[in-house]
Symmetry: C2
Subunit: 470 residues, 2 copies
């Protein structure tokens, strides 16, 4: 047993996990490059130990012990990230929140539910739905994700057009800072009490602290729900009614427009060949759903949309989280990934065109498609999918990196945002400077240095490597 | 002329203001204690110079020059703050953004308007309304405020229940950091690219940087608009329909419930004696306004509300920003102020009761009333007004401080939030530790120290004085 494992056992008064299976199971998230390395038996590094914290006090003990020993700590939620946010350095300690699970408090009057950070996302949603309530955060990874991970990665769910993203749903949080101090924000509907400290942890990807408890602002389960589907001659034509309906203030929780290739892939039964499918889900009081769906229909028809079978939405609802794993593709020599970006409406069409072109220009690329998945008055999220089979199997990583590099380059050149909701991890780390600017990266580094001067919390994630604080 | 004024003139290549009138005019905001000191000829300190920056480059020059000379800089927008956010230290430099004014860019497609930070709030709103658009941020001080000040103070307007507060409206910003570097955030509808750096400046009250440009996410001017008014036997009874209508997802931009004393004060013509008046303003597509107002009526009637003349809303709209200045009261030996706090629904009634009781218990207090002004699924803002005439005129400041101290104590004891939208300044500085906790204050200090190690940006505001970085 390593020294740090022994020290942690002394501090916690119980064993920590040091077996190889546990260490391998916690050394990474669901980043496709990590899966590829796994498949090729090229695991780059393994942690020395995995600690399953059972309480905030445990988290404090782990951070204090590791800081004293100058050992890096990698917070681990559901492990469902897809950007390489977790690649545990050799000899580090992985701090899993899995056993910090469950509802802490439910307040139906103030529509608030507080959970331990390791609570599984779907379990959290189910728990409040038993009381007729909903969190309304439906990331595709909901079954694998943790509620603390939602905060740490700035998650956004499939219902965000109506219900908002995690920063709109989070009421208060508890986090342990790198020095072991515990921050607990006040539960208040809104505050003007200096910079909103919750935002240091929203999107921190485990680099600034460990989120241990989160409270969400809930909604009642809707009285009514209605699906609508329309198809358009082109993807670009389908964007316009989205822009207009959000502009008017309508807010269907789900608004998803698929390009022709994705429409064929997902909705062959109900979408005519070469058409772009738009799915909408309306929720709320019955009178609201009636009013909104009528207004939305009008927008869609005016934009040349034709009504499709609304059962398409049911199909989507049923299958929406069933995505094939990366492994099956990798075994066939195909590397697959998704790249979600965000753009203002004035450039959405251009981002769609240029990014799909850029991806298709990479040798070996078989598929480059997209859909619009989360919309705003100001713009939308374009969620690209690509698949590539390079001639030589050993070029898979290089091909993958070329796809990402060209996509990120194109997006930043067009002045769009490099990530809507997946985060930075390692895959976007080098693109971050183009998003934040040099002074933005310097600012983020200054904050990191102020909180974690020895760069012990999830080193290597988020911040670009060059000139990293350590 | 002082050394720093000379150095600034050299750096800028033009004169700066050093006359006493300019220095007095910029030494403070609209905090009632500053007004009282003014009246009593007790101005505590004066800046050495006032610089009216004309560009971001000017702001850089001022910050770099002052940092080299170790002279404090106090950013100054509209001067409309009411918390003592501006009390320029003796010999400091006040950096006014007044001449950095005007629309930089308007994008009707992406519903975005970019303004220089010193643009007057009402002028900004008028400018976009000429194009059929609205920012929708209506602080009571809109005629005096600057759009950069909205961001720096975490403003929230009278329409926030429907349209959100400044953090919901801000798309991107430019700010100059204490070291003179310029941060420019990317214009994207939403991002998961690390902690949201905009939130370091939202609510920073001039302590972390100088906001130089801001872009807002706009809305179209509404197709329809309808006012509704109801009155209730008690303030507490009127809270329930607000909670329920927001819970259901309705979002009238304006939802304001006044207690009986304030109802009498403002709406004597339409509100029966001893009743609490609720005003609502619905905006949006005509069909939406119809649906929402019908649903809201139902909630209000079910809660025992009786319909009042909707012209009451027009009266409010017309007079809403006409508040008597502090000076007239002060001259009569009466000290008046407002204290806005926020609480979750489970404790709103208790906060109302206990804070008004606490204020009334202060010797000399004549009036302690409240209204609910901005509502959320999770709770509401209670906006208290108090007036006190101590027996001896020289006790005005002590009486004022006693009112604040008791109100803040009561609010934090009940677990509510100490400020909804006015901010900290100096009046809430000592209460901040009770809101953020010791670790929250330590965290804020660490960030401050990282960005502004010599505490040169607006020293004395926001952070509690004890153990301040300098």
């Amino acid at each position: 047993m390593t020294t740090i494992a022994k020290r942690l056992e002394d501090a916690l008064g119980r064993p920590v996990l040091t077996d190889r299976v546990s260490r391998v199971a916690h050394c990474r998230d669901t980043w496709v490059l990590s899966e590829l390395r796994d498949l090729e038996d090229r695991i780059p590094s393994l942690p020395a130990a995995v600690v399953e914290a059972e309480s905030t006090e445990d988290v404090v003990k782990v951070l204090v012990t590791c800081r004293a020993a100058r050992v890096p700590v990698v917070p681990y939620g559901g492990g469902s990230g897809v950007c390489g946010g977790i690649v545990a350095p050799e000899g580090s300690v992985v701090l899993s929140t899995r056993r910090m699970s469950g509802l802490v408090e439910l307040d139906d009057t103030s529509l608030c539910a507080c959970f331990a950070a390791g609570t599984n996302g779907l379990e959290a949603e189910r728990r409040v739905s038993e009381c007729g309530l909903t969190i309304g955060n439906w990331p595709q990874s909901i079954e694998l994700s943790s509620v603390g991970g939602w905060v740490a990665t700035r998650a956004s769910g499939q219902y965000s057009t109506g219900y908002g993203s995690i920063e709109d749903l989070l009421l208060d949080l508890e986090a342990v800072l790198p020095d072991g101090s515990v921050l607990r924000t006040v539960r208040t509907p809104r505050a003007s009490t200096g910079p909103d400290l919750r935002h240091l942890f929203l999107g921190s990807e485990g680099t600034l602290g460990v989120v241990t408890q989160v409270s969400f602002s809930l909604r009642p389960l809707p009285e009514a729900r209605r699906g609508q589907a329309f198809h358009f001659a082109r993807f670009h034509e389908g964007l316009e009614p989205i822009r207009r309906l959000v502009r008017d203030g309508w807010r269907p929780p789900v608004v998803r427009l698929y390009d022709a290739a994705e429409s064929k892939r997902h909705f062959e039964a109900t979408c005519p060949e070469e058409r772009a499918m738009l799915l909408l889900l309306h929720e709320g009081p019955a009178a609201y759903v009636d009013t909104e769906s009528a207004a939305v229909s009008k927008h869609c028809r005016e934009a040349g949309g034709r009504e499709a079978d609304p059962a398409t939405v049911d199909t989507w609802l049923e299958h929406r989280n069933r995505v094939p794993g990366f492994r099956g593709f990798l075994e066939k020599g195909i590397v697959v990934d998704t790249i979600e970006v965000a753009a203002t409406w004035d450039r959405v069409a251009q981002v769609y065109d240029r990014v799909t072109e850029a991806l298709r220009a990479v040798p070996g690329v078989l598929v480059a498609t997209s859909h619009s998945s989360h919309s705003y008055r100001s713009g939308t999220c374009l969620y690209f999918t690509f698949a590539a089979r390079p001639e030589r199997r050993e070029d898979m990583e290089a091909t993958y990196r070329a796809c990402w590099q060209r996509a990120m380059q194109t997006v930043t050149t067009l002045g769009a945002g490099i990530s809507h909701h997946h985060g930075i991890g390692r895959v976007r780390r080098e693109a971050l400077a183009r998003e934040l600017g040099e002074s933005g990266v310097a600012l983020l580094r200054a904050v990191k240095r102020a909180l974690d001067p020895e760069d012990l919390l999830n080193p290597g994630a988020l911040l670009p490597e060059a000139d990293a604080p350590r």
